[in-house]
């Protein structure tokens, strides 16, 4: 045997090794390897993760109590933060004074360049319970030597004089969790009904399929509006929150159910399922040990892709005044103030909540696309 041949065998050995690594890797491991290759999807995932960090630490990222309201500082424009003072790095803002213009009856604000207020990181502010049980008053940033409520308005204030930045942070918490809760509800409904439909077939399948077709053929927003409008006015913020998630999930499950059913239908014909049946496995074991693991990656992708629709549904409903209502804060509730053109024309910063809506929706879409491609077993 010549040396070349043994070298060739050596190379083959390496190839076999890497193939074996693929053979023994679990479904999730494979999916992760493929997902990593999608640059855009990875970036999108990082963005989504950053948003959820804001959700967890909303109290820390806000600097003013979102409910703190003062009429004399309503509709204040965003305040520029100056980073250098006499060439030295020393972030500060100017104290703003408001007075009413006697001719137009609108409040006008003037920055006073002589009264500089220093902005610093990790400042003390209003008290809150971090994660609901750790008392704290630490905030990402604040001011020195003045009341933060009186002096810092990085994104301006709304018509009731509440700080837009802080409200935006709390709105992120509401809007992003409502999306997750609604998806979780949809997932439970979708997996149960889709599973029954796909695994048993027959009459159950026909009924569930017709139900899905009917639900999908009704325009969603009017349906949501009708259902949401029935939520009693006197309900508490939490009750409305859950009522709205249920309203959204009532249609949201149809897409997931279709996906689950499709997977069950195609898997039912697979040899490994037949083999498990012949080996005498119980139904439960076949479903949960053999079928579910082989399509869970697809479900993860579909779930990710359905989150933006849920977030959007809440935003749209609250925007129309039929979803969450004050004192709850969500992106939609905030955007409600921007419904009137004249208001927006005078105070365009009220449109700011649109930016996180678009960014989050795009990020979830790209992430979901990446996951879907990664979940495809023929994708390598």
């Amino acid at each position: 045997m010549t040396t070349e041949q043994s070298v060739a065998i050596g190379e083959e050995q390496i190839a076999v090794d890497s193939e074996e690594r693929i053979f023994v890797a679990g479904q999730m491991q494979l999916m992760w390897w493929r997902f990593r290759k999608h640059r855009v999807a990875v970036v999108a995932t990082v963005i989504v993760a950053a948003f959820y960090i804001v959700v967890v630490g909303a109290d820390f990222f806000a600097y003013t109590d979102p409910e703190s309201t003062e009429a004399y500082r309503s509709l204040m424009p965003p305040q520029p933060v100056r980073f250098f003072d006499d060439g030295r790095f020393s972030p500060h803002v100017y104290q703003v004074d408001g007075k009413r213009d006697l001719r137009t009856f609108q409040r006008v604000y003037e920055a006073d360049p002589d009264r500089k207020i220093r902005v610093r990181l990790f400042a003390r502010g209003y008290k809150y319970d971090f994660l609901g049980f750790i008392p704290s008053d630490l905030h990402l940033f604040g001011v020195e030597g003045a009341s933060v409520e009186e002096s810092l308005f990085v994104l301006g204030t709304d018509s009731l004089g509440r700080d837009v930045w802080s409200r935006l942070i709390y709105a992120t918490r509401t809007s992003l969790t409502i999306g997750l809760v609604a998806v979780a509800l949809s997932l439970v409904l979708g997996v149960i009904l889709g599973g029954i439909s796909g695994f048993y077939g027959g009459v159950a399948d026909t009924i569930i399929q017709r139900l899905i077709e009917i639900l999908r053929s009704i325009p969603t927003i009017p349906l949501w509006m009708g259902l949401a409008a029935a939520v009693p006015r006197q309900w508490s913020v939490e009750q409305v929150y859950f009522a709205i998630t249920i309203v959204i999930a009532l249609r949201g499950w149809t897409g997931l159910a279709r996906e689950v059913r499709g997977r069950f239908l195609s898997l039912r014909e697979e040899d490994f399922v037949t083999a498990a049946e012949l080996a005498g496995c119980s139904r439960k074991r076949i479903i949960f040990r053999h079928m579910v693991p082989s399509f869970q990656s697809h479900i993860i992708a579909t779930v990710t892709l359905s989150v933006p629709a849920m977030i959007l549904a809440e935003t749209a409903l609250s925007f129309l005044g039929l979803g969450l209502r004050p004192p709850a804060i969500s992106w939609g509730v905030m955007l409600q103030q921007a419904q009137n053109v004249e208001t927006v024309a005078l105070s365009p910063w009220l449109l700011l909540p649109a930016i996180p809506v678009v960014v989050v929706i795009l990020a979830f879409n790209f992430m979901g696309d990446g996951l879907r491609d990664a979940a495809d077993p023929y994708g390598i």
Binding site: T2, E4, Q5, A8
Partner: protein
């Protein structure tokens, strides 16, 4: 008059590469052969050896990212004055008017999958009439009559109604006949049949092969028959070209190649055909190993890792070339011709 001995189509040192992200695939790597009017050239090889790409290259419809990088494709045409002239198809633009007037009219293709080779939402008649009117000056009515006649010629029963049927209303064999009718609609001089019988059952296979043969006798056209089936070659071909990984390894008259095969690959292929002389209850010999992945084709002779007669130090270092070993019989193997002195 065209010279009987001059080929109607000559392919010389054709190289077609696919430039993919993972690397360059040399799908056809220096193929040469001649096609004669009234005769059948069989091209045989395992799947993935570049047979189909050769056909697409001749018609200049290699899909992206594939491209012809070298070689000549010469088509002999008769001018109005009766003189014959050669057109180099490789130098024409892929979508040029000239090339399009050759496709279908001079060289027609019968593709390998009768199930999907016709549009599912157009009637058979619509598709064939469209093609016929493209190259011939025919009114719609004349074209329709021609199509009915053609469908009858290829043996489709009740051709007048079949014209208006959709492909899915026909069986696989009937669809293949319809495809042949489509290919014949402009009276081509060369018919390329790419695995025309692979998807069909054995009885239908035989009928389609008979049909091709009788059409050739009637019209005197040249047939280039691409297949992986040595049996089909033996039945149909006059000349055989054996391909392996994009290269021609052996070529010659069918009797010579079958009777006195020289290349170890051809010999292995022939040995793997069951015959009445095989010993019962003994497994048929197979070719060891599988076709290497096109991205890492072996150095030297591409067949050497699977070759039973490999000469270590020679076959894995040098690339053999086609050399004559008899009357019209050529083989590319170091068993039959000397190793070049200078190493590459």
């Amino acid at each position: 008059m065209q010279n009987e001995h001059q080929p109607v189509l000559s392919v010389r040192n054709l190289k077609t590469n696919f430039f993919t992200d993972e690397g360059v695939v040399r799908a056809v790597d220096g193929a040469s052969f001649d096609v004669h009017l009234g005769r059948t050239l069989g091209i045989v090889g395992e799947s993935g050896c570049g047979k189909s790409v050769t056909a697409l290259s001749i018609l200049r419809i290699v899909p992206r990212p594939g491209r012809i990088v070298e070689g000549e494709i010469l088509l002999r045409q008769e001018t109005e004055s009766g003189q014959s002239q050669e057109v180099a198809l490789n130098s024409l633009g892929e979508n040029s008017r000239e090339m399009r007037s050759i496709r279908g009219a001079e060289i027609a293709l019968v593709f390998q999958e009768p199930m999907t080779s016709l549009s599912p939402v157009h009637t058979i008649g619509n598709q064939i009439i469209g093609a016929a009117r493209l190259h011939r000056q025919l009114s719609k009515q004349e074209a329709r009559e021609l199509v009915v006649e053609l469908l009858g010629l290829v043996g489709i029963p009740r051709a007048e109604t079949a014209v208006d049927s959709y492909p899915m209303q026909l069986s696989g064999g009937m669809r293949q006949r319809a495809l042949i009718a489509l290919a014949l609609s402009c009276d081509p001089r060369i018919l390329i049949a790419d695995e025309p019988t692979t998807a069909l059952d054995v009885t239908t296979q035989a009928q389609i092969l008979d049909l091709l043969r009788s059409l050739q006798e009637q019209k005197g056209m040249a047939i280039m028959l691409i297949t992986h089936d040595m049996g089909v070659i033996a039945e149909m071909a006059d000349q055989v070209v054996v391909m392996y990984l994009g290269r021609v390894v052996e070529e010659g008259p069918v009797d010579t190649v079958f009777g006195e095969s020289k290349h170890p690959y051809t010999q292995s292929l022939l040995r793997s055909i069951p015959s009445i002389h095989s010993t019962p209850k003994v497994q048929l010999p197979t070719i060891t190993g599988t076709i290497p992945h096109p991205y890492n084709r072996p150095a030297g002779c591409p067949f050497h890792p699977r070759c039973p007669d490999v000469i270590p130090g020679v076959c894995d270092k040098h690339e053999p070339e086609l050399h004559s070993v008899g009357d019209e019989h050529q083989v590319s193997c170091f068993l039959y011709h000397p190793v070049p002195e200078t190493s590459p």
